[in-house]
Every structure is written in C-alpha cells, then in structure tokens.
Symmetry: C2
Subunit: 403 residues, 2 copies
C-alpha cells in the first residue's frame, strides 16, 4: 500500500513497461516525445531505451527534427522481435494471426468450420492446426510472448474457463488449457470474451481511440457487448459482465437460446434479421442490406424492424452507461449504416444528458477488432514486464515458434 515500499527495481520495471506500452500503442516516436510522455528526465529515458535496444525490443532510427531545439533520435518497436498468436474463434470459423510488437499483423489465416463441427475437440484440433501453419511463417529470431483467444461466450476470469458459449453449444470448456497442450507452447494464454477484446482493440487502435467510456457491440448469431468504463473493462464479480444481448427488451417476444424470452439478441441477431427479411439461413447480412437498398421490400421491412429494436437497446445502454462512443461490430457493421436514422432517433429518446454527446461509430479495425484485441491481451505479460518476459520466455518461445 505504501509507496515507500517500491524498490528501485520495481520503479525501473514500471518505467520500462510504460515506455514499451507507449511504443506498442503509438508506434514510431522520438526520444523527446517519450521524455514528455513519461515525465522522466532525458538521461533516464536514454538508459531505459538502451536496455530495450540491448534485448532487441526497440530500435533507434535517424534523428527526427521536432520543431525548435536539436533533432531528437527516433525510437520504434521491433515487431519481428516479440510477437503473439491471436485467435478469433467464431461459430463458423477461426481467424488466426501473428501480431508483432507495435500491432503489425505479420501473418493471418482464416479457416471455416464445416457445419455441425462445433464439438469442442474438433474445433480445437482444427484451430491448433491453423495456428501451427501460421507460426510456421513467424519471423526468425522472434519470440512468441503470448497467445490470446477470443470466444463468443461467457469466460470466467481470471482462469479463462469458457463457462457457457450458447451459440457454440459449449459448457465449461477449459479452452486455454486445450490450446496450450495441443500447441505445446509455454507462454501465457489469455482467453477472453470476443466483444471485450473488440472493445479493447477499438480503444487502442480503432474508432474509440482516446475515449474512456466505450461500448463495443458484436452482432453475430448472438449479440455481445464489451464495455470499457474509465478505460477499464467491465468484468463484474466473476468476469461475466457485458452480456447485453440477454437484456430483455421484448418480454412478449421470441424464445432465446439462453432459456429466456425476448432477449435483445432475439430481435437484432442475424437469425432475427433473416426471418424478418424472409430469407434463408445462408444469406449473408450484407446481401440483405444490398437487397434492401436495391428496393426489395421484404428485406427493407426486415431491416427497419431490426433497426428499431437496435435503437431501443442502444438507448438503454446509453442511459445505463453514459458512454462516449458505441462501436457497432460484427454484422452490426452492415446493419447500422442501413438503419442509422432509426438508431439515432431512439438514442435521441434516451435521457438528454447521456444522449447528447454519444458517438455511434463503425469499427475502424473492420472485421478484425476481436482478433487484434486478442493480440492486445496476449501482449499483457510483455507490456507489464518487458525484460522479464523476454528473458524468461526466450528459450521456450523460440522452440515453440520454430515448431
């Protein structure tokens, strides 16, 4: 509790962590910017940079002129030196990427599951297979420092057990353990809710950059929510917070897979839109939107209906959370532009004070918010203790990365 207890080593680790996080999130910068960002003096920053250069996490670049004063050396993260494996596990596919320090996507592969293959062993086996392929193209000399996985379900924290993923049909799956064993790596594995990870990524690198209070909605079969308050993820008592898709908005509505009736996702999820638009299971949401704008009446009517329910739920969330920005991810990326008037109307019907400033945004990271959020989660250990993570995991990770 007392600051007096902080040793010099702790202070140094803290400062190194702050430096690496800044470089990871902002990319190439100058020494003077690091000095002004950290509030540390020039020589301390210089010493810390030397330490990071020595282990290869950072490189110095040509001096950069920065207004008045003498030019300052440039500093940038070395994305090939430390990287993570990021997995966005969805109901119908797995997307796997290698993401380097600084956020560069170094390799990316997508694998669609065949229908009816959602049994956990098959999903895990196929996903691990894709991971191996992707790791095969990992940069030489680079260190795998973590694995991050996003899943559409309730994930218990801190252990990452997938308690319930209704649309995968999973109950109590220790996904992190399965992936770690099958992959044979010995680095931290973080499993998170897909929407939570989407929220984090959009805040670090996307539409919600710099915002403190963010709601990221992910529309698929179900609807999830990742909620950042004052920059911190809403977790709740056991880590299950943010299940906005199961907010009952229409108690006289449809049965939900969760066992309840009239949950928000029964009105705005992909199946609801398909039903309302009178199209089959395999028609993509983008196709429905295209048909509606082409004049198809059923598609148009379906979209309008979904748009009204979308607005009702978003207005609820605006009243409950007073967010700076709501980001519409997944299939809502297609639905929002086609129904924005309805959603804005509904938000206009929220209480004036929380409703007046909120921004309704599309994800700047497109379809990759969750994938990149999984990468951010996987970088946590490195960002908290850069030298410790590099020295501790170097040998093991090199093996794994080359496997």
């Amino acid at each position: 509790m007392s600051l007096a207890g902080a040793t010099q080593d702790e202070v140094r680790r803290h400062n190194l962590a702050a430096l690496v996080r800044f470089l990871h999130e902002h990319g190439s910068t100058s020494r003077s910017e690091l000095v002004s960002h950290t509030g540390l003096n020039r020589s301390t920053v210089g010493g810390l940079i030397s330490d990071l250069v020595a282990v290869g996490l950072v490189r110095e670049t040509e001096p950069v002129a920065s207004g008045v004063g003498r030019p300052s050396y440039g500093v940038e993260p070395v994305s090939e030196r430390a990287f993570v494996l990021a997995i966005d596990l969805r109901v119908d596919r797995a997307i796997v990427a290698i993401v380097g320090l600084g956020g560069a996507v170094l390799a990316r592969r997508e694998h669609r599951f065949r229908k009816g293959q959602q049994r956990e062993e098959r999903i895990v086996a196929q996903t691990v297979e894709v991971c191996r392929e992707v790791l095969g193209s990992a940069p030489e000399g680079g260190l795998l420092v973590g694995v991050g996985v996003g899943v559409p379900g309730l994930v218990r924290q801190p252990d990452g057990l997938v308690r319930f993923a209704p649309n995968l049909g999973w109950v109590d799956v220790p996904l992190g353990d399965h992936v770690a064993e099958s992959l044979g790596v010995d680095v931290p594995i973080v499993v998170g809710n897909d929407s939570d990870l989407g929220a984090v990524a959009e805040r670090v690198r996307g539409s919600a950059m710099g915002a403190a209070n963010v709601i990221y909605l992910s529309g698929q079969v179900g609807v999830g929510g990742g909620i950042l308050l004052d920059g911190r993820l809403l977790m709740g008592a056991q880590g299950y917070g943010g299940e906005v898709g199961h907010m009952r908005v229409n108690p006289k509505g449809r049965a939900c897979r969760c066992g309840s009736v009239g949950c928000w996702e029964t009105e705005i999820g992909e199946p609801a839109l398909r039903e309302a638009a009178g199209v089959g299971d395999s028609v993509p949401v983008a196709e429905i939107v295209a048909r509606a704008s082409g004049g198809d009446k059923a598609a148009r009517r379906g979209l309008r209906g979904v748009g009204r329910w979308l607005g009702i739920g978003v207005a609820n969330l605006v009243n409950i959370f007073n967010p700076d920005v709501v980001v519409f991810g997944g299939s809502l990326r297609e639905i929002l532009p086609a129904t924005r008037d309805l959603v804005e109307d509904a938000v206009g019907g929220a209480l004036t004070a929380p409703g007046e400033h909120v921004l309704l945004a599309l994800p700047a990271l497109g379809d990759d918010s969750t994938l990149l959020g999984a990468a951010e989660a996987a970088f946590t250990a490195l960002l908290d203790d850069p030298l410790g993570a590099v020295s501790g995991h170097a040998a093991r990770s090199r093996t794994a990365a080359g496997a």
Copy 2:
C-alpha cells in the same frame, strides 16, 4: 507517472490518509491492526497516530489484549472533532444530518415539503433552513469539513450541476452553489446522484460491505441505480451513468416522464404500483404491502405485477453487470420481501454464470443509505488529506458551524 517522483511529504500524506480512512470505515481498532493493515512498521504507525492525535482527529484508548503478544493500544476516530453536513434531498422532503468522523450520526432532522413546492428556490431555502438548525447542535470545537447532497437526478461530474431531475422538474440547477451561498460555508460541497451515494454507503457500512460489484436500486416515484464496479462508481463520460430506471423493458407500455415509453420505472415506480393496486396517490407503499398480506386482492395483484417487472429488470442488470449483490432501496425495500419469489425466479432465468452467485439484499442502513452516502462523499477531502483539511479549513469551518 513514475513512482520515483513521490516525495516524502506525499508518502506521509498517503499513509495518513490510509490510516484515517481505515479508522473512519472500521471504527475503534488497535495499533497492531493498523500495522498489519497498512504494512508499515510499528514506529511509523506510531508517528502517524501521534500526528493525528495532535490535531484531535484520533484518540488513543486503553490497551486492548489481542491474542498472543503484548496488549496493543486502542485507537479510535474522534467523531466530534471533524464532521460533515449530509443532505438527502427527495421529491417530498429533505433529510439533513451531521455525521462525525467514523460515521456516527450526531444530529438528524427531516423536513417535508408541502405539495407543489418543488420550485428550486423554495426547496433550497427550506433545506438550508433545516441545515442551519442542525448545525446549531454541532459539537463545540468540531470542524465542519464538507457538505454532501444527494438528489434524485442526473448530476454532472465533476462540477455537481443537476442537469435533469425529472421528478423534481429541475433542469440545470447549480445546487451546490446555491446551498454554499445560502449557507455561507466555505468547505467542499459535493452533489451526487441519490442512488450512487446509496451504493457507496451500503458498501462502506451496509449490506454490500466488502463486495466489489454492487448495484443499489432506489425506488421512489422514479427508479435510480448506483453501480459500483470493482469498488468504483460507474460514472460514464459526463457522470450520468446508472440511469437503469430508463431502461425500456416494455416498449408497448406507459409513457415515461423522460419522454420515452415503457421505461422500467413506469412499471415498478410507486405510481405504477398504486395504479396496479387501485389505490390513491397518498397511500404509502408499505400500506399496499400490508393490505396484500392481509388478503386484499387488488393490492396483491398489483404487487405481483410489479414484482414480475422488477424481476425482468434485475435479471437484465445481472446479465449486464455480473454483480456480487443487488441492494433494494427506497420503496423497493417494501416491495422486495413481498415479491422475492418472482424476482428470484426471474434472476434464475438470467444466464446461469452471472445469476448463480448474486445476492438480493435489503439495505442494512434502512432509509438512510443516501444520507450516509452523502456524508461519505463530504468526507472525501478530509480522508484524502487529513492534516491539510483540518489546518486549511479550521478557522472558516468553526465560524460556519457556530453560525
């Protein structure tokens, strides 16, 4: 950002603050408990206590035997030395109290407004009048260190402007300034949402003691929510978060004062219960509950209907927040015991994971949660910097307290 920047003075202030906060929240304790709580060594704690004794905030008591080892001196907060003025401003009345360090209520007065007197000038004038009376019985030699006010409305942070209090009919009222001017005091004045303050008080001294994730619901004409996540109040972008009463649960329902339709408070607020039970405006909620348990069919039917909607909204909040405990305050204190089966049923219909552990509780502070939360808010300045608050405000506060 760097810990290296903390001066000895800052460390000392930090440690003094931790000690006083512990004494304020836990009351009488022993030196050894303070040593083990703070992690500081015995002589440091001794020195800090001497400083606090010197300014009168703390007194030492007889040695207390504490299991093995030599007996340890007792330490307790001096409630008459530093006190705050707490105001719970409701639609129909103002409750005002003097609360001493450690949480003791030293004086308390309640004043009912006559109907139709909600114009802000009259409300403020009458409330200030009650404050003056209460301050007249303030302990001699005591210092007024802050004023806290709870209101049923949207309060902008950090400046405390009451943006909108629909049930008072207020828009953009600088309540803190009005009270400070009329009262002629020069101490920090904190204005907060009534439910937010209720949540804080129930966590510090009530049913949610020790819980990190708390939802405090306050039922009156409207329904408010105070939400603590990881021990911190959900504020949102401008401080308006927690307006759970305006979650639309019944889009085909009644018009709400906020301009929307089917808000939760239109189904579970006091007017909804009265209408459902077929009783007049002046019948208290407790009377309806009594009638129902006495066999009155209309009262019973009304309560059951409200109970079902109460359950739907609580289940929504459980899914969204995954709280440890939900505290039912205001008129919900009467309604929960009479409808607990329905509410538990509905929460049982929430997702299993967040639903399985949540506790549905009545406020341990009874009707005073908001009042005592206003006191906690008013103590903030003292608890953050005990010696600074005492030396800085001593002269001014003595005058004000004696006025």
